[in-house]
Amino acid sequence: MELDAIVIVLGSGVRLAAPLLCACLAGLWSERSGIVDIGLEGKMLAAAFAGAAAASVTGSAIMGLLAGLSASLALGLLHGYAAIDRHGNQIVSGMAINMIAAGLTALVGAAWFGQGGRTPSLEGDARFNPVLFGMDPLTIITILCASLTWLFLYKSRFGLRLRAAGENPAALETAGVSVRRIRYAGVAICGLLCGLGGVYLSVSQAAGFLPQMTAGKGFIALAALVFAKWKPIPALFTCFLFGLLDAVAIRMQGLSVPGLGFVPVQAIQALPYVMTVILLAGFVGRAIPPRASGIPYVKEN
C-alpha cells in the first residue's frame, strides 16, 4: 500500500474506533463499580436512534446529542435500578435492554418517519462535521474521555471509591461510604458514554439512523474491555486496533489478494469479528474481572 492509503486507513481506523471506545469506556465505568453491563449495545442503539431523530426534527446536531445522551442515560439508570435496588440478575436486565432497544427503535422509527425504520438523511448543521485533522467534535471528545477516565479512575477520590465498590463493596460501606450511590454514579457514566457512542454512529459517522446499525459493537466493546483487562489506556489501544481492523476490512473489499484471488465481501467483513475471537482466545492471558462485578450488594442479611 502506498503512503496516502496508509494514512487513509489510519484515519478511518480512528473514526471507526471512536464509538467502540465510547462503549468500552462505558463498560469499564459500570463494571469497575461492580455492575456487569451487557446492555451497551442496546443503549448505543437507543442513543443512535434518539440522536438522529432529534437532529432531523430540530436540524441541530447538539440537540441530537442531548437526546441521545438522555435516552441512553435513562436505560442505564433502569439497569441500575434493576441491579442495585432490586438486586436483579444483571445479565438478564442487560439482555432485556438490548431487546427493548432493538425492537423499539425499529418500531418507533417506522411509525414516525415511514422509511422502514430509517430516519431522514441528516445534512449541514444536523450532523457533526470535521473540525480538526478530519476529526469531528465527537471523536475528539471520545479520545479525551479515555484520558479523563484514566485521570478520574486512578487519581480522584471518586475513582478510588468506585474501584473499591467493584472489588469489595463491604470494605467501602464499612469505611462509611454508600455503595449504592457509587454504583449509581457508575451506571450513569456508563449510560452517558454509551449515548455518546450511539450518537456518533448516526449523527457523525453516518447521516442518519438505520435499524440495527450498532451491528454488535456493544459486544465487541465488551470483548475489548476484557482484552484491555478493565484498564482505560489499554482500552484506548485495543479499540483503536479493532477500529483499524475494520478499516482494513473495508479497504480490502473489492481488492484481489495475491495468491487468494478475489475474496468474498462477507469474508472480509467477518474479519474484525474473527480477530476478536482469536485475540480473546489466544492473547488475553489471565484477565481477572473486578471481583464483585455482577454480584448484588445486600447489606443486611
Binding site: 477520590r157 478510588l160 471509591r161 473499591a164 462509611g176 454508600s178 471481583r291
Partner: protein
C-alpha cells in the same frame, strides 16, 4: 471510672430471629474488655450495632456518657469507633495506602491526601510500633500485616474505641502474641479495646474485664483477674463443661494402618513428606504434632488418597495398597475414612443443602437410590445424625453455610464416622469450632478409639494432641523428629521437637 461505652437494653431482631435480647454492657475507658460466647451467641451482631452496620431494634447506646444515634458506619466513625472485622474489609487489588485512604481521602484529588496520610502513618508507626509498607498491594501481604492495616484504618480516623472481631482466628501463635502486645500499647495510650473471641486463653491472657454472652443475652460479667477459664466456660455454655477429656487406658490391637518410607514431593519438586514411617493400631489414637506447614497436611492427604505419593508403601489392615493409583473413594471402600483439615475446601460444598453435603463421597451408595438420588433417604440419613451429634438447627435442608463452624464439622464427622471406618484420619477436628462442640467432638473420638478403631489425628493445637493421643509423633520439615507416649510427653519437649531439635535420648 469513666465509661467509654454503655449499651442499655439493646434488642435486635432479624425477622423471627431474636439475636440480641436486652443486652447491657459497660466498658471502662482505657481497658481491654473481652466479649466471649459460642458461635451464634450474638456477639458479632452486638458489635455490628455498636459500629452502626446494623440498626438496633430498640435500646440505648451511650458513647462517653452521651447518648448516640447511629444509622451507619459513618456515624460510628465520627464518634471515634473503629472496627476490625473478622473477615478483613480490605480491597486486595489496592495498595495499603489506598485502603487506609478509602473513605477518608481528604479532598477530591488523591495526591494531597496520600502525602498527608503517609506522614500520619509514619507518626503512628513511631507511637505504636505499627509499621506497614504503604505501597505494598494488600493481595501480596500476609494476614498479620493485613490486620495491622485494619487497625491503622481505625486509628487514622481518630478511633478511641477499637472493636476486634475474632482477631486471632487467622493468626499464628506468634502473630497473635504480637497483636496482644500491640493492644496493650494502645490501651496504655488511653484507647478502649473490645475483643470478641471464643478462645478463653486469649481472654485470660490479655483482657481486664470479660463479658459472657449466651443465646443473645449477657450471661455474666467478670473481672479477668478474679475469674478462671473454667468459670467463663461454664457461663458460656450455661452448664458445667469439662475441658479435660477423660480417657481410660488404651487397648491397642493389631496394626490397621502401616506407612513405610512415605515421600511426597509437590508440583515444584519440593519434598513435603520426607521418608515417614509409622504404624497405627486398632484402639489407639496417634497424634501428629507440628507447626502448620511442616508436611502434616500432605501426609494426611497422601494417606487419604488425595495426594500422589512419590515413593513408599501403605498397608491397610494387612493388605498392601496400590500406591500408584491412590484414590479417595477406593480408600473409603477399604474402610479408611477422612475428616479433612479444611472442611470448606475439602469436606463440604457450602452451597449444598446439609443433607447433600452429608453424603459427599458416598453418593453412589445403594442406600441413596443409585442413578437418581432418593431424596427421602438422603434427608433421613442426616436427620438421624443430627440427633446423635446434636447438630443444630435440626433441618437437613438448610444450606451448609447457614450452620456454625462446629455444626458443619459435626456434619463431616458424622458422615465419616457413621460409615463404620476401620481407620479414621482426622485433620484439625476443632479448628473454628466452639467449646460445646469441641467437648462433644473429643468425646466422640475417644469413644471411637475405645470401640477399637484406629485414629490418626493431625492438629496444630498442642493441647488437643496431648489431650487425645496415646502416642504422639512430631513432624518438622517433612520428617518425624520424635515420638512420645502420652505418659511421657510434655509441651516443652514437644515444642523442641516441633522446632526441629531432634532427640537423641529416644
Amino acid at each position: 471510672m469513666t465509661l467509654a461505652i454503655e449499651l442499655i437494653d439493646i434488642h435486635k431482631r432479624f425477622g423471627n430471629v431474636h439475636a440480641n435480647k436486652g443486652v447491657n454492657l459497660s466498658v471502662q475507658k482505657g481497658s481491654i474488655h473481652g466479649i466471649v460466647g459460642e458461635n451464634g451467641a450474638g456477639k458479632s451482631t452486638l458489635m455490628s450495632i455498636l459500629y452502626g452496620y446494623y440498626g438496633a431494634t430498640s435500646g440505648t447506646i451511650k458513647i462517653d456518657g452521651r447518648e448516640a444515634r447511629m444509622r451507619s458506619s459513618r456515624d460510628a466513625i465520627a464518634l471515634g469507633i473503629g472496627m476490625v472485622h473478622q473477615h478483613f474489609m480490605l480491597v486486595e487489588t489496592l495498595s495499603v495506602l489506598e485502603n487506609i485512604l478509602l473513605g477518608a481521602e481528604g479532598g477530591f484529588w488523591l495526591s494531597a491526601g496520600k502525602d498527608a496520610m503517609r506522614a500520619k502513618l509514619a507518626t503512628l508507626a513511631k507511637t505504636y510500633g505499627l509499621e506497614v509498607d504503604p505501597d505494598a498491594r494488600v493481595a501480596d501481604i500476609g494476614v498479620g500485616q493485613r490486620q495491622r492495616v485494619e487497625i491503622l484504618k481505625a486509628l487514622v480516623r481518630g478511633a478511641h474505641v477499637l472493636i476486634l472481631d475474632e482477631p486471632t482466628a487467622v493468626l499464628t501463635p506468634t502473630e497473635a502474641d504480637n497483636l496482644f502486645d500491640m493492644l496493650r500499647v494502645l490501651r496504655d495510650e488511653g484507647k478502649t479495646i473490645l475483643l470478641i473471641t471464643h478462645k478463653l486463653r486469649e481472654i485470660m491472657h490479655v483482657t481486664d474485664h470479660v463479658s459472657v454472652m449466651r443465646r443473645g443475652e449477657m450471661a455474666a460479667h467478670f473481672e479477668t483477674s478474679h475469674t478462671s477459664v473454667e468459670e467463663i466456660a461454664d457461663a458460656m455454655v450455661g452448664r458445667k463443661v469439662s475441658l479435660i477429656v477423660h480417657r481410660g487406658p488404651a487397648n491397642p490391637g493389631r496394626v490397621l494402618l502401616e506407612a513405610r518410607d512415605l515421600v511426597v514431593r509437590d508440583m515444584h519438586g519440593v519434598t513435603r513428606v520426607d521418608h515417614v514411617s509409622f504404624s497405627l493400631r486398632a484402639g489407639e489414637i496417634v497424634g501428629i504434632a507440628g507447626v502448620s506447614g511442616n508436611g502434616q497436611s500432605e501426609l494426611l492427604e497422601a494417606l487419604a488418597g488425595m495426594q500422589r505419593l512419590t515413593s513408599g508403601g501403605i498397608t491397610l489392615d494387612g493388605a498392601p495398597i496400590d500406591t500408584s493409583r491412590l484414590d479417595p473413594s477406593h480408600m473409603r471402600e477399604l474402610g479408611l475414612m477422612h475428616v479433612p483439615e479444611d472442611r470448606h475446601r475439602h469436606g463440604l460444598v457450602m452451597s449444598f443443602e446439609a443433607c447433600e453435603s452429608g453424603i459427599l463421597g458416598f453418593q453412589h451408595d445403594a442406600a441413596y437410590g443409585g442413578a437418581l438420588l432418593d431424596r427421602a433417604a438422603v434427608e433421613s440419613g442426616l436427620a438421624a445424625d443430627m440427633e446423635t451429634y446434636d447438630i443444630r438447627p435440626r433441618d437437613p435442608r438448610l444450606t451448609t453455610h447457614s450452620f456454625s463452624g462446629g455444626n458443619q464439622q459435626k456434619i463431616v464427622l458424622a458422615r465419616e464416622i457413621e460409615r463404620g471406618p476401620k481407620v479414621l484420619l482426622v485433620g484439625q477436628p476443632t479448628r473454628g469450632v466452639d467449646i460445646g462442640a469441641i467437648e462433644f467432638i473429643h468425646k466422640r473420638l475417644m469413644a471411637l478409639r475405645d470401640a477399637g478403631k484406629a485414629i490418626l489425628l493431625v492438629s496444630v493445637e498442642l493441647d488437643e494432641i496431648m489431650a487425645l493421643s496415646d502416642r504422639i509423633l512430631v513432624m518438622c520439615g517433612g520428617r518425624i523428629t520424635g515420638e512420645r507416649t502420652a505418659a511421657n510427653a510434655n509441651p516443652r519437649d514437644l515444642g523442641l521437637l516441633m522446632a526441629g531439635v531432634t532427640d537423641k535420648a529416644a
